[in-house]
C-alpha cells in the first residue's frame, strides 16, 4: 500500500462470498407473446454463467394492462430507474425498487409519467446545460401514430419528472428545407448540442428516416438535418437508430464527433463536430456493413477501454479501442452472439471473470409459425430470443438462455441491476 492513501482492500482478492453477486443480476424487460398467452413484465434475472440458477427469473413484476411492452431501461445519475414503453397508455414510467429482509432486490411498482401525449418512448439521456439538468426522452410516435411524419423529443425536469418542453417539428408542418424531427430514437448530447436519429415510423410500414437532427439546447429548437445514407442494401432508407456524441468526458482530449449506426443502411457514420463554430462536417462512413458482411448495426456501449457495437446480422458485437475514437480502430475479434445482437451489460462473475451479456433480439415481435398477429417477417428472422453470456477477453460463449423457450416471452431489453454495466450508453 502507498503510504498516505486511505486503506483499501482493493489489492486483496475478494472472495466469492464477499463479492457483490448482484453484479451478475439483470433487469430484463420481457414481452408477452399473444399466442403464447404471456404478459409483459419486468424481471430480475440471474445471469451468472457459473451459477446453477443461470437464466432464472428471481422476481417478476407483471404489467397486465399494457397492450405493448416496456421498451428500454435507464438509471438516472441519482439512481432512479426509468423505463420507456411502446404502449400509448404509458410511454414513460419510473420503476420503484426496494429490498427485502434478506437484501434481495425487489421490483415494487411503476409510476406512469405524464408525457404530454407523446407516444412510443425510446431512449433517455440526462444532460446538463448551463448548470441546469434535464431528462431528455425520444418519442418515436410523437403526438400521434396517425401522423405519417410523427415524432417528438420530450424535455423533463429530472427531479419532478414534469414535462418542461415538447420539441416537435414535423416535416409536413415546418415546410420544405426546414429542419425537422421524425421518428426520433437514439439521442446523445455534448454541451449545448443534442443529436437525435430519424429511424422508422413505429408501425414499421408508413415511413423510414435517413438523417439525424441537431437540436440547439439553448432554444430547444431543431437547427439542422444531416443525411447519413449510401448503400441502401435492402432498398430502404438508411434508418439511423443509435447515435453517440464522442466527447472529452468519454475520451480525454478527443476531437468531438458524432457516430451514427444506420440500421437498414448497415453502416456506421462519423460526423465531425467543430466546437469553435459549433458546425458539423460532412458524414464519413467508418463501417461499411455490405463490405464487412454485417447488417443492422444497433447499439453503442463502452467500458474504460473499448467501445462495443452490436450488429443484429449475423449476430455479433464488434469492439473498438476507446482511445481511437472517433475512428473505429479494432480492439479484438468480434464476439459472436446470436441473431438480433442488441443491448448488452458488463459484469464480473463470482469467480472474477469479466463477461458481457448480450440480448439477441432485434424486436420481440412474434413468429409466423405461432400464427402471431404481431409477426413482421423480416424482423422475426432477426430474433434469437436469447441472452448469451461471453468471456469479455476471448469472446467465448459461456452460457445461453432462450426466453422464448423457457418463459414463452421475448426479451426487449437488459440492464445491469446495480453497480455495474455501461460507462456510456448512447
Amino acid at each position: 500500500m502507498m503510504p498516505g492513501r486511505p486503506v483499501s482492500a482493493a489489492a486483496a482478492p475478494e472472495t466469492a462470498a464477499r463479492r457483490n453477486v448482484e453484479e451478475t443480476q439483470a433487469l430484463v424487460l420481457l414481452r408477452g407473446l399473444p399466442t403464447l398467452n404471456t404478459k409483459h413484465s419486468i424481471a430480475i434475472v440471474e445471469l451468472n454463467p457459473e451459477a446453477k440458477n443461470f437464466g432464472t427469473i428471481l422476481q417478476e413484476f407483471e404489467l397486465p394492462d399494457l397492450t405493448h411492452p416496456p421498451h428500454h431501461l435507464y438509471y438516472s445519475p441519482n439512481g432512479r430507474l426509468y423505463s420507456t414503453c411502446l404502449d400509448p397508455k404509458s410511454s414513460l414510467f419510473e420503476v420503484s425498487l426496494s429490498r427485502n429482509a434478506s437484501g434481495a432486490a425487489m421490483i415494487k411498482g411503476v409510476k406512469r409519467l405524464d408525457t404530454g401525449g407523446q407516444q412510443v418512448g425510446e431512449d433517455i439521456i440526462w444532460h446538463n446545460v448551463e448548470g441546469k439538468e434535464y431528462m431528455i426522452v425520444t418519442f418515436m410516435g410523437g403526438t400521434g401514430l396517425d401522423q405519417p411524419d410523427c415524432g417528438s423529443v420530450g424535455v423533463f425536469d429530472p427531479q419532478s419528472n414534469k414535462l418542461i418542453k415538447l420539441i416537435q417539428a414535423r416535416k409536413s408542418v415546418v415546410g420544405d428545407g426546414k429542419p425537422f424531427i421524425m421518428y426520433p430514437h437514439g439521442l446523445s448530447a455534448y454541451e449545448d448540442r443534442l443529436v437525435v436519429t430519424s429511424t422508422v415510423h413505429p408501425d414499421l410500414k408508413t415511413g423510414v428516416g435517413n438523417a439525424i437532427t441537431v437540436i440547439d439546447l439553448n432554444t430547444f429548437e431543431p437547427i439542422q438535418n444531416i443525411v447519413v445514407e449510401d448503400a441502401k442494401p435492402v432498398n430502404f432508407p438508411s434508418s439511423p437508430v443509435e447515435v453517440l456524441f464522442v466527447r472529452p468526458t468519454i475520451v480525454p482530449g478527443v476531437a468531438p464527433a458524432v457516430l451514427v449506426n444506420a440500421m437498414f443502411g448497415f453502416e456506421t457514420w462519423k460526423i465531425p463536430y467543430n466546437e469553435k463554430d459549433k458546425s458539423f462536417g460532412a458524414p464519413v462512413k467508418v463501417h461499411d456493413g455490405v463490405k464487412a458482411g454485417t447488417g443492422v448495426p444497433l447499439e453503442f456501449y463502452g467500458n474504460q477501454t473499448e467501445l462495443f457495437v452490436s450488429h443484429a446480422v449475423p449476430g455479433i458485437v464488434k469492439r473498438y479501442k476507446l482511445s481511437g475514437l472517433p475512428e473505429l480502430v479494432p480492439a479484438g475479434p468480434d464476439i459472436k452472439t446470436g441473431l438480433g445482437a442488441h443491448h448488452m451489460i458488463f459484469f464480473s462473475t463470482a469467480s472474477g471473470r469479466k463477461v458481457v451479456a448480450v440480448q439477441n433480439n432485434l424486436l420481440n415481435l412474434g413468429n409466423a409459425a405461432d400464427k402471431d398477429p404481431t409477426e413482421v417477417p423480416f424482423i422475426a428472422k432477426v430474433n434469437d430470443n436469447s441472452v448469451t453470456v461471453h468471456d469479455l477477453q476471448s469472446g467465448e460463449q459461456l452460457a445461453k438462455v432462450s426466453f422464448k423457450e423457457r418463459y414463452k416471452k421475448g426479451v426487449e431489453n437488459i440492464e445491469a441491476l446495480f453497480g455495474s454495466g455501461f460507462v456510456h450508453h448512447h
Binding site: N20, R80, R99, N100, A101, M106, Q159
Partner: protein, 362 residues
C-alpha cells in the same frame, strides 16, 4: 441449578418444540443504498428484532444495572450521546466518541473507530464485557435473562436458547433495522423535493475534488465519505483514513492497534454522515464541538504526517503552495456545505417509535 434448569429449558430439554420465528415480511430497505448481507445464522425475524430492541434499552445488561446500550446511543441524537467521549459504569471517560448507529446493514466489515470488531455481533459483545463500559459477566447476564419469562419466550423463539451468542445476535438484529432513509437529501434523491440554492451549492462542493486547471471548486468530502449515507465502506479495512487531526509526533494508533501495520497508524473509521448535524461532538475523540469547527479543520487545520490521506494533501482550490495544506474554501462555501450536511438529518429516524425504548411505553 436454576441456571442449568433454564438452560436446559431453553435448549428444549423439556421436550417442547421450539416455536418458529416469524419472518420480517414487511421489512423493506432502500434499493439505492446497495446490496447487504444478513448473516445466515442471524436472519431478521420479528422476535429477534423485538428481543434486540428490549436488550438495547435494558440497563440490566450492565453490572451496576444502570447502563444500557442506549446510554451511549440515544435515539434523538441519532444514537450518539453528545459527549466528547462516552462514560460507562466506571464513570471514567472512555477512549472514543460514541458512534452513530444508522444503516449498519450496508457496508461495514469493521466496526468501532479503530476497526476492532469484524461483525456487528462481535461489536455488541465488546461494550458488554468492557470493564469501563458495562462490565457485565455474561454467565450472570444469561442467568438473569433466563429467569425473566418474557425474555425467555423471545429468546426461545428467536434463537432457541438464552446465551451470550443469542444476546449479541439479537442486539445486532435490532441494530440492522435502524434504517435512516427519509432525510431531506433522501427525499431529494427520490425526486420528492428540490434543494435550495445554498444546499445545492453545498451538495456540489461536497461531491467535487477541486481541480484548479478546470476551475472546479470542491470540498473534497466525497473522496473519503463515498458511503456517507450508509454505515461505511464494505471491503475489509477500506474506509479508514488519516484525516490530518494530528502531526507525526502525536499520531494515535488507530487501525494500527488492530492490524499492527505502521501504515495504519493514525487511521480511523470514516463514519457515516447521516444525521451528522445531530451527532456532535465530532471525530473519534470528540475534539470538535461544531460542524463549523470540522470545516475549519479540513479547510486550514490539517496536520501533515506520514500516513495522511493523499486525497487530502492534493485537494486545494488554489494553486497549491508547497508544504501548506488547505482547501481555500470561502466562508460562503463553508456555510453551503454545512447547509447540505443539515439535509442529511432524518427526523423520522430519530423519533420513530419502533426504534425507541420499549420500556418507556409501558
Amino acid at each position: 441449578l436454576i441456571t442449568a434448569l433454564f438452560a436446559a429449558m431453553a435448549a428444549g430439554g423439556c421436550g417442547k418444540q421450539r416455536p418458529e420465528a416469524t419472518p420480517l415480511n414487511d421489512f423493506t430497505a432502500p434499493f439505492v443504498f446497495g446490496r447487504f448481507q444478513v448473516p445466515t445464522n442471524n436472519p431478521l425475524t420479528v422476535e429477534a428484532v423485538e428481543l434486540g430492541r428490549r436488550l438495547f434499552y435494558d440497563p440490566r445488561l450492565s453490572a451496576n444495572g444502570k447502563v444500557s446500550c442506549s446510554t451511549c446511543h440515544i435515539q434523538r441524537l441519532a444514537f450518539t450521546d453528545g459527549r466528547t467521549t462516552s462514560v460507562g459504569v466506571s464513570g471514567k471517560p472512555l477512549a472514543f466518541n460514541s458512534m452513530s448507529l444508522a444503516n449498519l446493514l450496508w457496508g461495514p466489515q469493521r466496526f468501532f473507530w479503530n476497526g476492532r470488531a469484524a461483525t456487528l455481533e462481535e461489536q455488541a459483545l465488546v461494550p458488554l464485557q468492557h470493564a469501563d463500559e458495562m462490565a457485565q459477566d455474561m454467565e450472570r447476564l444469561v442467568a438473569q435473562l433466563a429467569a425473566d419469562g418474557e425474555y425467555r419466550k423471545l429468546f426461545e423463539t428467536a434463537y432457541g436458547e438464552v446465551s451470550p451468542s443469542a444476546i449479541t445476535r439479537a442486539l445486532a438484529a435490532f441494530e440492522r433495522t435502524l434504517i435512516s432513509s427519509n432525510s431531506r437529501y433522501d427525499q431529494f434523491l427520490r425526486g420528492e423535493i428540490t434543494l435550495d440554492e445554498q444546499e445545492e451549492l453545498g451538495r456540489k462542493l461536497f461531491m467535487a475534488h477541486p481541480d484548479v486547471k478546470v476551475s472546479l471548486r470542491g470540498a473534497n468530502c466525497i473522496d473519503c465519505h463515498s458511503q456517507f449515507l450508509t454505515g461505511g465502506s464494505s471491503a475489509g479495512y477500506d474506509g479508514f483514513s488519516n484525516n490530518g487531526l494530528d502531526d507525526e509526533e502525536h499520531l494515535q494508533p488507530g487501525l494500527q492497534a488492530v492490524t499492527g501495520k505502521p501504515t495504519h497508524r493514525g487511521l480511523f473509521k470514516v463514519p457515516t454522515l447521516r444525521n451528522i448535524a445531530l451527532t456532535a461532538p465530532y471525530m473519534h475523540d470528540g475534539r470538535f464541538k461544531t460542524l463549523e469547527e470540522v470545516l475549519e479543520h479540513y479547510d486550514s487545520g490539517v496536520k501533515n504526517s506520514s500516513t495522511l490521506a493523499a486525497v487530502i494533501v492534493e485537494a486545494d482550490n488554489q494553486a497549491a503552495a508547497a508544504g501548506h495544506i488547505s482547501l481555500h474554501l470561502t466562508a460562503e462555501e463553508k456555510a453551503a456545505i454545512i447547509a447540505f450536511l443539515n439535509t442529511l438529518t432524518d427526523q423520522e429516524f430519530v423519533t420513530a417509535e419502533r426504534f425507541s425504548d420499549p420500556f418507556a411505553h409501558k
